[in-house]
């Protein structure tokens, strides 16, 4: 169905809903690369004006990728909760934006609404929202998940400890892990991106982290971010695996290029649940996403990258994850050109994920061929903190020596926790107190080389 708008003597026509969404999307290089972006600034606003009038029910009638062609579309439509949708079913996209900002639309209202919102509705409304709207609405939403601790509670900010090493050297990984723990980080997960994706190498790393978590009774979970099939083989062989990781995208074809489908993810989740390794909850999945992945896989169906990103959250939602994070600036300037585009995309992703009911974190990051720097990351980090992000990454000195990009550091988490009065997950916070690493949830304690976490490492060096 075509959408029309007359504006200042110009008649705009948008061929179909996906075209309207793409043209209404704030400027970014990936949509230009895909050839779906608005021709100019006025056409973009015309599309936004036109989109504001579209009834939310239209998104249930006109899938952006056909139902017959794509299992993600089938998932979205088949699992749509009509009862949850009822309170907003009479609204247009524009009215929905205003509804989300009302005082009366509170945490409880938004939680109840989540199963009734489709990714396309979330993406559409985000395109009509300014950065402050994205922050305010997201800050009203709480998504709490549990495995060995409780993540996402009000007043908390968790950190994924990311101790990567270019050759997966266990001592190198242990050194960075100790560094992060000494800085009070690691409550979201201690998660390693492996340089080699093999069950044997993954098992070595899983055992290393499992031992550390058990030795020091750390209330957290570990993850080696290998392919889901690698994790399944590790579980079959009896490896101590807490969370199943997978990168996911918003189309069946893009997921196929990742070597996954919905059935496979379901199978992996069942395997992880059967291990019963969680102590306070059973959210066993960890997903990563990022705008541009479908285009990069040649599987975007002419849909803009932000809408496709929101569709990836529908995939995540199906499997009740502990953690979802958008790796926002990793993909490069051909998708998000500069700091401005990365900041906007990070806020959109966090908002859309939260609106759909996901425990959103964000890898606030950039590569060296992007027009971005550490100041842009400080800005996005702060905005996401205000928006109530569940967790951020903690990389030693913000410099990932394996993936060659810059993320956020352990120090950055201290900045954010101090500035916004945030604490770690409660179980982890108690452990940090017990270990005399941190007090009041955010003040690091002085330590000596004889600290229980350090002494064994340093003694091993001396011998």
């Amino acid at each position: 169905m075509a959408y029309h708008l007359a504006l200042g003597g110009t008649h705009y026509e948008f061929r179909d809903l996906k075209t309207l969404l793409a043209k209404a999307s704030p400027l970014r290089s990936g949509d230009q690369l895909a050839g779906v972006a608005a021709e100019n600034a006025q056409e973009r606003v015309a599309a936004q004006l036109c989109l504001a009038e579209v009834p939310l029910t239209r998104f249930l009638e006109e899938p952006v990728i056909p139902y017959e062609q794509d299992e993600v579309t089938r998932l979205i439509l088949d699992t749509h909760d009509k009862a949850a949708f009822a309170p907003v079913s009479g609204l247009s996209v524009g009215e929905f934006r205003d509804y989300l900002l009302r005082y009366e639309t509170d945490t409880l209202t938004l939680s109840a609404l989540a199963p009734g919102i489709t990714p396309e509705m979330a993406a559409a409304v985000s395109k009509l929202m300014g950065n402050q709207d994205l922050i305010l609405v997201a800050s009203k939403i709480r998504v709490v998940t549990k495995f060995r601790n409780t993540l996402g509670l009000p007043g908390t900010l968790a950190v994924r400890l990311q101790p990567n090493h270019p050759t997966d050297n266990p001592r190198g990984i242990a050194a960075s892990t100790i560094d992060g723990l000494m800085y009070g980080c690691g409550d979201a997960v201690i998660g390693i991106n492996p340089a080699t994706d093999s069950p044997a190498a993954t098992t070595v790393l899983l055992r290393l982290l499992d031992q550390l978590i058990r030795d020091y009774e750390i209330p957290t979970q570990s993850c080696v971010l290998a392919h889901v099939t690698t994790s399944m083989r590790c579980m079959e062989a009896g490896a101590p695996l807490d969370l199943v990781f997978q990168s996911i995208a918003g189309t069946e074809a893009a997921n196929k290029s990742f070597g996954i489908n919905l059935a496979l993810l379901g199978e992996a989740r069942e395997m992880a649940l059967s291990l019963k390794r969680g102590t306070v909850g059973d959210n066993v999945m960890y997903f990563e996403t990022g705008q541009g992945s479908c285009l990069s896989a040649g599987a975007h169906h002419g849909v803009d990258q932000q809408t496709l990103e929101a569709r990836a959250y529908a995939v995540a939602r199906e499997f009740s994850p502990l953690l979802v994070n958008t790796v926002v600036g990793f993909i490069g300037p051909e998708y998000l050109y500069d700091g401005k585009q990365i900041i906007r995309a990070g806020l959109e992703d966090h908002f859309c994920g939260k609106l759909l009911g996901l425990p959103m974190g964000c890898d606030v990051c950039y590569t060296n061929h992007c027009e971005a720097d550490q100041d842009d990351m400080d800005t996005l980090l702060t905005l996401l903190g205000v928006a109530g992000v569940n967790y951020i990454m903690g990389v030693p000195g913000a410099d990932d020596i394996m993936l060659n990009y810059q993320s956020t550091s352990f120090h950055d988490s201290h900045y954010l926790r101090q500035a916004l009065r945030l604490k770690p997950a409660p179980e982890f916070d108690a452990w940090l107190g017990k270990m005399k690493l941190m007090r009041d949830g955010r003040r690091l304690e002085p330590v000596t080389a004889r600290h229980a976490l350090l002494a064994p490492q340093l003694d091993a060096l001396a011998s």
Partner: protein, 264 residues
Amino acid sequence: MILAMPNEITTFDPWTELRRFTTARIALGRSGGSLPVRERLDFQLAHARARDAVLTPFDPDALAEKIAALGLPVETIESAASDRAEYLQRPDLGRKLSFHSRSALVELAAKTGPSDLLILVSDGLSTLAANSQVEPVLAALLPLLNESGWKVAPILVARHGRVALQDEAGEILRAKMSLMLLGERPGLGSADSLGAYLTFGPKVGRTDADRNCISNIRPGGISPADAAKKLLFLLTESVKLGLSGVNLKDTAGELEGGAMAELE
């Protein structure tokens, strides 16, 4: 890396010895909970180096002159990306020859005839890597190729190239194999890293799955001499098997010092 020294204002981390195991920025110390100034500026310097590596204008003629001194004919060409900003936003243009360069190569092909190997070098994402690593790698590789009787086409130097450009050029020049050397996306500690990508039966439409790669060629990574040996091995195996890509394995195997080392 600049060491954060203990003083009265910042807090020293008593685990600097763990740096022996990793080049990660650990035990940085803290001012309150924040990064001490020297560590902050050390990071800024590394980022500045990486930015300059990406943005420094590339002079193909100067590199061509250095390569010519090694004794092979050299031609300079261009990708379809017209400037650095376009190159960064349009990877598709970096993978294609400009109209002008395509015609030039068609003419060149008529003069040179088929060859065993086309070598194309480019700035890629690090001008610094191209300027500092290409000549040493070629100086090590060309004699090895010569000894093994490879017929090498004139070497091409391209501005704003991406991986795949060598396959279009190799197809036009009727080369049995193509090899591209180009600057990799700079990391903070590795702004000068060169990558090498080779394809058997180069032609437009080849994908990453059809290519083999050696990355991290730089001081502190893989040396030019080692890179040349690995490349000769891969090129020779590739011709022998009549393929390249996922089915051609570098038998060097596991990463040195990797997780598997612990199993032994």
